[in-house]
Amino acid sequence: MLSAFLAVLRRDLLLAWRGRADVLVTLAFFVIVVCLFPFGVGAEPNQLRAIAPGVLWVAALLACLLSLHRLFAQDYADGTLEQLLLSREPAAVWVMAKVLAFWLSTGLPVIAVAPAMALLLDLEQGGLPVLVLSLALGTPILTLLGAVGAALTLGLRGGGMLLALLVLPLFVPVLIFGAGAVEAQLSGSGAVAHLLLLGGGLTGAIALAPWACAAALRISTD
């Protein structure tokens, strides 16, 4: 079971490395979206500081959404998905490996540049660790929920747009607690409650989403 998990993880990371332009596009998208806000709302530092947690979280969420439709599309087109569904290993195992590889190649780079973008918006330095932690707990939830949506919309005409409509409402609670954690930390009330809720959401998503995703993939390839 572990060998199938590792085989899928290694292959997807290798593919992400060989197609690293796609990863850079996601990262560039995140940076550009954050940079647009000072142009839109004006470069008044107090105002930017106030909206920084929300802006960073919305940008990270959209960057995550941007590449989600690629998660299964290539494997679906070239027949690899059929072979994976015919594996003797449970589908949840390799789905989890694919999601993990996807998060490592899209979510992790966004988290890595988030502190730099936070400084650009003049977020107080005390909020940076909480920002990184909330993104580290929250973006895997987004990827897991998005994977279910990507599996459901696989092979549909206009699937990318439908995917956004399907999963964006589900992202709302993650956004509320993610951005809320940073704000709570800055206001002095402490971010522990928000982070614990995000952690709970993440464990729940890890437990349930791979199964839902596997079932959705079986329906999509039928």
Binding site: A4, A7, L15, R18, G79, E82, L86, S87, E89, D222
Partner: protein, 208 residues
Amino acid sequence: MLEAQELACLKGDRLLFRDLAFRLQDGEMLRIAGPNGVGKTSLLRLVTGLALPEAGEVRWRGHCIRREREAFHGELLYLGHAPALNDLLSPLENLRFACAAAGDHVAAEHCVQALVRIGLENQLDLPARVLSQGQRRRVGLARLFLSARRPLWVLDEPFTALDVHAVADLAATLSEHCAAGGIVMMTTHQDAPFARPPAVLDVGAFAC
């Protein structure tokens, strides 16, 4: 033993065939025949469990394949119309991944041997996107040499895009597999030099 009973297949809102039944004993080879669009590939997908039949069921060793899916898939090798190759990976990487993902532990040198045997010794490290159609097909077929332990082979148009030598070679491999007690089920429009001519199932006879 593989058997199908009263299979019906619905595609979109059109019934492709119904009351289709067959039974294959160990060591038998079955060729699915019929004109384009009659439902040959759909039948193969029903047999593998990738698609669900509208009615009827497929049984492997007497058990419905939907109830014992993982055990059945451990004994099945399906090579579909798409060759399951990623363009960014080399044939060797593709083959090793295909084996590992299916749950087989195959050493790297056996993968190399299989690719050399099927005639790809000069393409081992090239990305798959530069391969010709026939060469891409061969990468998929190399799995046959590594899957002798899987008794049931279901192949969708295995001879497409292969040259004359490769066709003869493949036919010999399939005949050997049956001689060793395996079951081969395939669709093809091509005549191939089998040791024993396979039984033929005409899907057109069950068409609606």
